[in-house]
């Protein structure tokens, strides 16, 4: 490993603080697979992530895990409890687990995640598992971040009509039905199979893996399917596309938060409130500001920057 674990840990903190940390998209990092694990609360994501990390690391890949939990919108604090359900140590295998608070991000991740992935890639981690917050269907940030998306369901998390709703169900590459020892499990499996058959990209039909994660059942099959999807991605155009999307995410997120922090929304809102400005005119000012920034950016590029 070119970088110490402690250095990686401290750099992730620096990234969270918005400090400048050199990030290089390392060409040899193209062997890294980013695996997103999503699904509603309580289905067993953390248990699955822990078992999967152990399995993949025993097979020889250094593994990193980013486990995201929600920050309180009122206090900004968070209880980051995903580790409670993961192994405490990995018998000498190289597994790095980091708990991450969402800090206001709403799409299931946190702003630091795409940058942290690049950092972990350069540090030599070959499998990076990202466990999303787990609030269900609106968690689509993972689509721009992961190479392989695993969606976990368990019996009793919704009836057949849930399968018709757009969102995270559409973007999964692998479905897992956990808690197969539950009486309703077979029915859930059938529903997920129908959804799986109707989705997926050309050349890849999402498999449905049955699991009882607490008993280690289904984990090996899940790992095999993840490896198969890695082969599928690297053999297609998707590889470059996903990496570009990750980079775009970093830039877009930075632009959004920098703009949000620096643009005088409060002043404009006060003027609207005092009837000195209409809402339409305030919106026009925002549009004009964005247009000006974009124009300046193109100007810089044209000048050979």
């Amino acid at each position: 490993m070119p970088e110490t674990r402690q250095s990686v840990a401290r750099k992730i903190s620096a990234l969270e603080k918005g400090q400048v940390v050199p990030l290089h998209s390392d060409p040899s990092g193209r062997k890294t697979q980013v695996i997103g694990v999503s699904g509603p609360p309580g289905v067993g994501k953390s248990v699955i992530v822990g078992k999967l990390a152990k399995h993949l690391s025993m097979a020889g890949s250094p593994v990193a895990v980013l486990a995201i939990d929600p920050s309180s919108p009122l206090t900004g604090g968070a209880v980051l409890g995903d580790r409670v359900r993961m192994p405490l140590s990995f018998e000498g295998a190289d597994v790095f687990i980091r708990s991450v608070a969402s800090r206001g991000a709403l799409g299931g991740l946190s702003e630091v995640v795409p940058s942290a992935i690049i950092l972990l890639e350069s540090a030599g981690y070959r499998k990076i598992i990202v466990e999303t917050v787990g609030v269900g269907q609106s968690e689509t940030d993972i689509a721009n971040t992961a190479d392989t998306i695993v969606l976990v369901q368990s019996p009793g998390t919704g009836d057949d009509t849930q399968g018709l709703k757009a969102g995270v169900l559409e973007i999964a590459d692998i479905y897992v039905v956990n808690k197969m020892d539950h009486p309703e499990a077979e029915r859930t499996c059938r529903t997920m199979t129908e959804i799986a058959d109707a989705s997926g990209q050309s050349g890849w039909t999402p498999p449905v893996v049955s699991a009882v994660a607490t008993e280690n059942k289904g984990i090996e099959e899940l790992a095999d399917r993840i490896t198969a999807h890695a082969d599928f991605v690297s053999g297609s155009d998707l590889n470059g596309l996903k990496r570009r999307k990750r980079t775009e995410s970093i830039l877009a997120w930075r632009a959004a938060s920098a703009f949000r922090n620096r643009f005088p929304f409060g002043d404009l809102a006060r003027q609207v409130d005092a009837d000195r400005l209409s809402v339409s005119d305030a919106l026009a000012q925002v549009d004009a500001a964005v247009a000006s920034v974009v124009k300046n950016t193109h100007h810089c590029s044209r000048a050979g920057g």
Binding site: G76, G77, R98
Partner: protein, 152 residues
């Protein structure tokens, strides 16, 4: 209710920085976790990020996890007689790993003679039964600020 007079540690656009990060655990064979859960919720309500471990961790595991999570403070809860040796071992392991800047605080049934031992070993906060949650929160915030976590 969180103490309104305490600054919440929330990172906002106007106050860039980051919430304090604290690792809460009860290493060893002690099976009590009700106290630690109450503290976890209180610290969350005061705007901190609390990483919470299951029961029956070893001190080695706590030290490794504290480093990986880059926490500001490790909070040890222990109601057995082994608190001093646990804290002493943890302090040594953290220092050996280059984490001298990660502070340790302890809570639980703490005997008077143990308080002095704990301070000697470098424990930065000792909270016996009946400690105010706001006191614990304040202590953690100050330790995090000293470590440079919060740019207030």
């Amino acid at each position: 209710m969180p103490d309104q007079t305490l600054q919440t540690s929330r990172a906002t656009g106007q106050n860039p920085g980051a919430p304090p990060r604290i690792l809460l655990c009860n290493p060893g064979l002690d099976g009590h976790d009700r106290g630690i859960k109450v503290v976890a919720r209180a610290l969350r309500d005061h705007g901190m990020e609390v990483i919470y471990l299951p029961l029956r961790t070893t001190v080695e595991q706590v030290a490794q996890i504290a480093a990986d999570e880059d926490v500001d403070v490790v909070g040890i809860s222990n109601l057995s007689a082994t608190l001093v040796s646990i804290c002493s071992n943890l302090r040594t392991l953290l220092d050996e790993a280059g984490c001298e800047d990660i502070a340790i605080v302890a809570g639980g049934t703490i005997m008077q003679q143990d308080r002095q031992e704990l301070e000697k070993v470098g424990i930065r906060g000792v909270f016996g039964p009946g400690s105010e949650l706001t006191e614990i929160a304040r202590c953690v915030q100050e330790l995090a600020k000293a470590r440079g976590r919060q740019d207030a």
